[in-house]
């Protein structure tokens, strides 16, 4: 209500931009980084009041079949911004896990360059991740990035579970290593588990015929519980504005954690003064 009162109001923040803006998650022991200007919410130019379906459809369309505007499109883009890919992957994996969706790695023949997650109930495309790599490497890259989202070295050991002979394949978050799809031995590859702000993430990827045939979630923060609900409801549109200090007629104030001793002392002195002025012995 009264949204017209403040011209700064109603600047929407795209939820996906919000997701992307998360910096590489901090290791558990390190202090949270101070906010930087680059980490502030970016304000989207359009889409203020679109409902959830329209928003999701728009997101899907934006990345469908070609690299999304502003996404990791430039050469080496995914290398320089691993957190973005990781976040998208995490988002995608979240959707897979929590909604029980069919995770369709579209175009397993390698002719397309996107991952599309479709809501199996409605058929609405939820998320499309566009990359410049072939499908198989796209999936592998996304998966690897997810498991290494918070490691600074960006290196993750991927051990071939089905290959008991035990020559360990080492993949990195950079797409360069993963970009050898033809040579991948069939089997199940377990990613390193990793902690982010929300918990531990671990996935495994199944290769067959040189292609990713499945990605399975081994660990995901609260995968079967509350994050389900968060994905089932429409993501809220966030509205950003600069705050200013103001006064207004209000009944009470929320957020006033007065230092209680000072408060009590002051209150008591006021009561005493009132009593004294009224001729009542305190």
């Amino acid at each position: 209500m009264n949204t017209s009162r403040n011209p700064n109001r109603r600047q929407p923040i795209d939820p996906l931009l919000q997701q992307r803006r998360q910096a590489p998650a901090t290791p558990r022991s390190a202090p949270l980084p101070p906010p930087t200007p680059a980490a502030r919410p970016r304000v989207a130019a359009a889409g203020a009041s679109a409902d959830a379906d329209a928003r999701l459809a728009a997101l899907a369309a934006r990345g469908n079949g070609k690299p999304a505007a502003g996404a990791a499109t430039k050469p080496g883009g995914r290398r320089t911004k691993p957190a973005r890919a990781a976040k998208l992957a995490a988002l995608a994996l979240s959707a897979v896990t929590t909604l029980g969706l069919a995770g369709l790695f579209a175009g397993q023949d390698g002719n397309t360059d996107s991952i599309q997650l479709t809501n199996s109930a409605t058929g609405v495309p939820l998320i499309t991740i566009a990359t410049t790599a072939t499908t198989a490497t796209t999936a592998a890259t996304a998966t690897t990035s997810t498991t290494t989202a918070t490691t600074t070295a960006a290196a993750s050991a991927v051990s071939p579970g089905a290959n008991a002979a035990g020559s360990t394949t080492v993949a990195t978050a950079a797409p360069t290593v993963a970009a050898a799809p033809a040579g991948v031995i069939e089997g199940t590859y377990v990613g390193a588990s990793d902690s982010n702000r929300w918990g531990v993430v671990q996935v495994q990827v199944v290769y067959s015929g040189g292609q990713v045939s499945d990605v399975q979630i081994l660990q995901y923060p609260n995968a079967d519980n509350k994050s389900v609900r968060i994905n089932q409801v429409a993501l809220p549109t966030l509205i950003s504005e600069a705050i200013s200090s103001q006064t207004a007629a209000v009944s009470t104030v929320s957020g006033a954690t007065y230092t209680s001793n000072s408060y009590k002392i002051s209150l008591q002195s006021a009561i005493d003064a009132a009593k004294t002025a009224s001729g009542i012995s305190a």
Binding site: M1, N2, T3, R5, R9, I13, P15, Q18, Q22, R28, S29, A30, P31, L32, P34, P35, R40, P41, S49, R197, W198, G199, P221, N222, N225, K226, S227, R229, I230, Q232, V233, A234, L235, P236, T237, L238, I239, S240, E241, A242, I243, S244, S245, Q246, T247, A248, A249, V250, S251, T252, V253, S254, G255, A256, T257, Y258, T259, S260, Y263, K264
Partner: protein, 246 residues
């Protein structure tokens, strides 16, 4: 528990009712205060009492049960067993008990047939019905950088809870229990919803989670939130803005 409670009841001058509410809050303090060495909560924290002991009251059981659910719901962010407590243990349920006790007081008022009231415990507000002018209650949200100023005003008809977590006078007193570091992204977080105990816990959680916590909060029907970042941006959901008047 080191906080103050204000009680504003519309159309009642029944002093005994106020006395009853004050007695309730003192009882809560005696039982739940971690500042008191011999309170049941301090003894629970030291392991002298077990949650299953016969001497544990139903109230304590209720609080322990809900805190346990919240620890799971908030993915460990709101965990009353992981906080440094004034009594030296790692158990401090104050963050839940404050809102819970006010919620209980509101129930008591309802039971007495009083629908219109405003209770404020250390900045956590429980509204019933309408204000003295038969209008929706108006609640100012403290400006994090200006102790005398407001960042915004919300209004609503009760039952409605408004809880704000943040670093005000006490300094950086909220730490992320998952790594023990103080919160720096946000200056404050406000949650509006039907139950003050939950709204308070959710506000603390939102404050720790940061702006992304607004998406987590969206999974809780009836609750909505807004955050103020350390550099002075207000980020609110559309639902929250329906409560705003400025």
């Amino acid at each position: 528990m080191g906080t103050t409670v204000s009680i504003d009841i519309v159309d009642s001058h029944d002093r005994s009712l106020i006395d009853e509410l004050v007695a309730w809050f003192h009882e809560v303090d005696a039982v739940f205060s971690p500042y008191k060495e011999c309170s049941p909560i301090s003894r629970l924290g030291r392991g002298e009492l077990a949650p299953t002991d016969a001497g544990i009251s139903d109230d304590i059981r209720e609080v322990l049960q809900r805190c346990s659910e919240l620890a799971e719901d908030t993915q460990g962010v709101f965990d009353v067993w992981s906080l440094p407590s004034p009594n030296g243990t790692r158990f401090d349920p104050c963050g839940y008990v404050k809102g819970w006790s006010v919620q209980r007081a509101a129930r008591l008022l309802h039971a007495c047939g009083l629908a219109d009231f405003c209770l404020n415990a250390g900045g956590d507000v429980m509204l019933g019905g309408r204000d003295h002018g038969d209008k929706p209650w108006r609640v100012g949200i403290r400006h994090p950088a200006d102790p005398m100023g407001l960042a915004m005003v919300v209004q609503g008809t009760g039952p409605l809870a408004v809880a704000t977590s943040g670093t005000y006078e006490r300094g950086a007193h909220i730490v992320d229990p998952r790594h023990g570091q103080p919160i720096t992204e946000l200056a404050s977080a406000t949650v509006i919803g039907p139950d003050l105990a939950d709204a308070d816990a959710f506000a603390t959680t939102l404050y720790v989670m940061g702006t992304e916590g607004l998406y987590w909060l969206a999974g809780h029907p009836g609750y909505c939130g807004a955050v103020i970042t350390s550099d002075g941006q207000l980020i609110a959901t559309e639902e929250f803005n329906t409560y705003r008047v400025s």
